[in-house]
């Protein structure tokens, strides 16, 4: 396993970090660097709450070992939430009351945002498949799809 100092760019801030060999990116971000907008739900890649954008791809940060990263660019929700697309996503979801306890929110919004930023478009099918990789125990899935429809409708 690689060890030593890694260079991370988190939300446009450059950080040099010396992770332990078994340290996950989730732990680096939350416990080490204080990015508590990245939530921890299961530590096994099942719930999606800890999703971040790593080198332009959405990933569950609990499944990534920080020591394996080299010059990585990372965005958490707070790093993108001022983007107009992110703001619109946020607004439609909240106006639809799609989130209740809010714990799954950053992971889901960031995942959708990453898709929109990478592909410029979002189909309902893709949105369904993205939602299917996240757990919302409050049960807002259909309301989230309504919010996504609203978002896409406003786009047309």
């Amino acid at each position: 396993m690689v060890s030593g100092i890694v260079r991370l760019t988190v939300n446009d801030h450059i950080v040099y970090w010396n992770p332990k060999s078994d340290e996950t990116l989730l732990s680096t971000l939350r416990d080490g660097l204080g990015y508590t907008d990245v939530k921890a739900g299961c530590h096994e890649g099942a719930c999606g709450t800890c999703t971040v954008i790593l080198n332009d791809r959405p990933v569950p940060s609990c499944l990534i070992l920080t020591a394996t990263l080299e010059d990585a660019t990372i965005y958490t929700w707070t790093g993108v939430m001022n983007d107009p697309i992110a703001q619109r996503l946020y607004s439609v979801f909240h106006e639809m009351n799609a989130f209740q306890c809010g714990f799954c929110e950053n992971g889901i919004l960031l995942h959708l945002f990453a898709e929109l930023r990478a592909k410029k478009v979002l189909s309902r099918e893709t949105a369904e498949s993205i939602l299917n990789s996240h757990i919302c125990r409050c049960g807002g899935y259909r309301l989230m799809m309504e919010a996504i429809s609203e978002f896409l409708y406003a786009d047309e």
Partner: protein
């Protein structure tokens, strides 16, 4: 009223307990028993204490009092003393400067166990030679409730149809996305601050004081944002008491956030229930009598199990009129994590059984199960045979609405198959868990010259949107922009007492307290305005943030000005409100458990197909009509109905807390089977409003009730699709395949 927005609720950047960073914070790790039942021979903490970075370590000897809210059943030590009773039970705790050091330290604690015989289920612990889990309960039964109302035997004698069934309802767990967590801090000035992911700051407050031997006023409990509860964060837990004790000892802020595996051990989920029901019906197809035997597998400790034992029987009496009722409900100790209150506490299992049995009866009588349910429904003003008083009841409208929306009266027997069920649930427990005559909910409302209205009440918003309900009630009374109504909750220093988020009590009880306070504040403001405007108070009203004359709305002053006038006249402009249900318990043991100031009602229809080869259920649509009295925040009511639908699907089809060789398995999301977006059918949420005289603006609950009807509606649809009685939850392919095999065997034998 601008109330449809979720913008007032939690959001992803809110601070949950795991996000709290107090400088100097240290971390504790809880060591848990690997054995389902064992005597603790010795605990040696010295290995941990020798590790650099370990601050201290404790075991069960640090505590002389137990957890448990119900005074008669405080049987759960914060850390096990002498015996462990389930695998995963907390035994020792190590405090380190980092969580990794605490965990390392815990691995150096030596505990010598002497394993004892164990049984994870009631069949095992009810045997005469079964291992005794608590010395105080030789039969392994926490509570054996045997109650009878009305002439049960006479009713069965006069019944023209008697149906009966045996039902098995699996245990399940809440699995809130946010794991439980706590930060406890014994502050330099000599008070303990406890931040916890809890549904009841008040009960945690009272319980911590009792367990730690502190004065209540020495403790402040603060509930940050909570990432879901569903009943799983009601009780006082080991991690809360341990963190508090470690902070008392060290003076340091102590943090514990449970891992997902630990959350599964902490449990308090739905009791696995084994139910036998017999139902007597007369020739007019009225329900005469119900006789039920209920066995609840409770796990190793009491928790709120006494309540469960009563609710399971009491709620048989709603939502249909019965002339007689008898139930025997036993809550049994097992070597498993304690079961407890999960959404729909006590009512879900028996409602599944009852609604399945009604469908069995309807088939035998060859009558439409939906139309029949309408004829059976309780009516406003009814008193049930066990003395529950029904204020409002919109059940027949709920049934009409789901029938119409689902096309029930078209061809309910065509494929996909439809199933119907109905239910009722409490809007708050009529009597407190800790017996006293104090208000259940209180509120302070204050206005100042800035124009801001500040409301404080001790409620716990756990994601359901309770704070916004309070905000909108105030907005309704004062006609103020909701943005300028600040709501402070969940802090025992800042807020007057509310008992917490359980038994679906907040909208009704805290709502009444807030409404009373807001109306009193309005009077104060109007009086001051009246004197300035030289008009009688009763000629004035608040409209769009102005105090205006009723006959001439153009004349008036701004609300802000009126508040300033009131401040000039009285000093602080403040009003209070409190609420205590005016119920009187009936004269039978346990009569305080079940009565509520108001009851909500639900009807659900499910439309399903079942794969004939794989026995996989596909739910296409769910229609759920819920009578919430009055929807204060319609979008939140809708969200709660959706939440109940999806939690209901999970319980009906997938979820099961099971034990493998005495150890909980699964303990991960991946293997437990929580419903995902792809498992979700079309959900048609229908709000029915039958305003209740007891509710604020007529409102009743919406957070738990809808769940109860969803589960049997799906089960009834699946039973119709397969042409057999599906009486075991979850309806997974394995269960259904066995049910079909059994049905084939039964039909051959007959």
């Amino acid at each position: 009223m601008n109330n449809s927005s979720g913008l007032y609720g939690a959001h992803g950047c809110s601070e949950y307990v795991g996000d709290i960073a107090i400088p100097g914070c240290v971390y504790a790790f809880i060591l848990r028993s690997p054995h389902p039942h064992a005597r603790i021979v010795s605990v040696n903490l010295s290995g941990a204490l020798d590790l650099h970075g370990v601050i201290t370590a404790i075991d069960g000897t640090s505590f002389s009092r137990n957890c448990g809210l119900i005074p008669s059943s405080t049987d759960e030590p914060p850390l096990a003393r002498s015996v462990v009773r389930y695998a995963g039970e907390p035994v020792a705790a190590v405090l380190g400067t980092t969580s990794a050091i605490a965990r390392n330290g815990a691995s150096r604690v030596c505990i010598d166990y002497s394993p004892l015989p164990f049984s994870p289920d009631a069949a095992g612990t009810l045997r005469t030679e079964a291992p005794r889990i608590h010395e105080s309960h030789p039969e392994n039964i926490l509570r054996d409730v045997d109650l009878s109302f009305g002439p049960v035997d006479d009713m069965f004698t006069s019944a023209t149809t008697i149906v009966s069934g045996t039902y098995d309802y699996a245990g399940s767990t809440h699995a809130a996305l946010e794991p439980h967590g706590v930060v406890a801090w014994w502050r330099p000035e000599g008070r303990l601050w406890v931040f916890s992911s809890t549904q009841s700051p008040h009960h945690l407050h009272v319980n911590l004081a009792r367990i730690l031997g502190l004065e209540q006023q020495a403790i402040r409990v603060i509930k940050p944002r909570v990432g879901g509860g569903f009943g799983g964060k009601c009780e006082t837990f080991s991690h809360e008491v341990v963190a508090a004790q470690l902070s008392l000892v060290t003076g340091l802020p102590v943090k514990i956030v449970l891992s997902r595996e630990e959350v599964f051990y902490t449990h308090r989920g739905r009791h696995h229930a084994l139910i036998d029901i017999r139902l007597g019906i007369n020739d007019r197809r009225e329900l005469l009598a119900v006789d039920a035997g209920i066995t609840l597998e409770g796990g190793a400790y009491a928790g709120l199990g006494v309540v469960t034992s009563y609710y399971a029987g009491q709620f048989l009496a709603i939502p249909y009129a019965l002339r007689a009722l008898r139930f025997r409900s036993r809550r049994v100790f097992t070597n498993a994590p304690p079961a407890g209150p999960k959404r729909g506490h006590g009512g879900v299992q028996i409602r599944f059984a009852f609604e399945r049995l009604l469908d069995t009866a309807a088939r035998r009588l060859d009558i439409d199960p939906l139309i029949w349910r309408k004829s059976l429904a309780l009516r406003p003003g009814d008193t049930t045979v066990n003395n529950l008083t029904i204020g409002s009841c919109g059940l027949t409208e709920c049934l009409d609405r789901v029938a119409e929306a689902s096309g029930w009266h078209g061809d309910p027997d065509g494929s996909p198959h439809l199933g119907v069920a109905a239910s009722g649930y409490m809007s708050g427990a009529g009597f407190p868990i800790l017996p006293n005559r104090l208000p259940h909910s209180q509120s302070i409302i204050r206005a100042d010259r800035s124009g801001l209205i500040s409301v404080s009440t001790g409620i716990a918003d756990i994601g359901q949107g309770a704070e916004n309900v309070m905000r909108q009630l105030v907005a309704h009374v004062l006609d103020q922009d909701p943005r300028y109504i600040s709501v402070t909750t969940g802090d025992t220093d800042l807020c007057p007492v509310d008992l917490g988020s359980y038994s679906s009590r907040v909208t009704l009880m805290a709502g009444r307290a807030v409404l009373t306070a807001a109306r009193r504040l309005r009077e104060t403001i109007l009086e001051s305005a009246a004197s300035r405007l030289k008009q009688p108070v009763d000629k004035l009203m608040i409209r769009r943030e102005r105090i205006v004359h009723r006959d001439n709305p153009d004349r008036g002053i701004s609300l802000r000005k009126a508040i300033a006038l009131a401040e000039e006249r009285y000093g602080v402009v403040v009003a209070t409100g409190s609420y205590r249900p005016g119920l009187k318990p009936a004269r039978y043991p346990g009569s305080a458990l079940g009565p509520s100031p108001a009851y909500s009602f639900t009807a659900a229809v499910a439309r399903v197909t079942v794969d004939p080869d794989l026995y996989r259920v596909n739910i296409h649509d769910l229609w759920i009509a819920h009578d919430c009295g009055k929807a204060i925040v319609p979008a939140a009511v809708r969200a709660q109905i959706h939440g109940c639908a999806i939690m209901g699907i999970g319980e009906t089809l997938y979820e099961r807390v099971s034990m493998l060789r005495g150890v909980t398995d699964p303990v991960t999301f991946e293997s437990y089977g929580i419903p995902l977006s792809g498992d979700t059918p079309r959900i048609h949420a229908i709000t029915v409003e039958s305003p209740d005289p007891e509710g604020p603006l007529g409102a009743k609950e919406a957070g738990e009730g809808p769940l109860l009807a969803v589960i049997p509606a799906i089960a009834n649809a699946v039973s119709r699709a397969l042409g057999i009685d599906c009486n075991r939850i979850p309806l997974n392919p394995e269960t259904l395949w066995m049910d079909v095999k059994q049905a084939i065997k039964d039909s051959r034998e007959s």
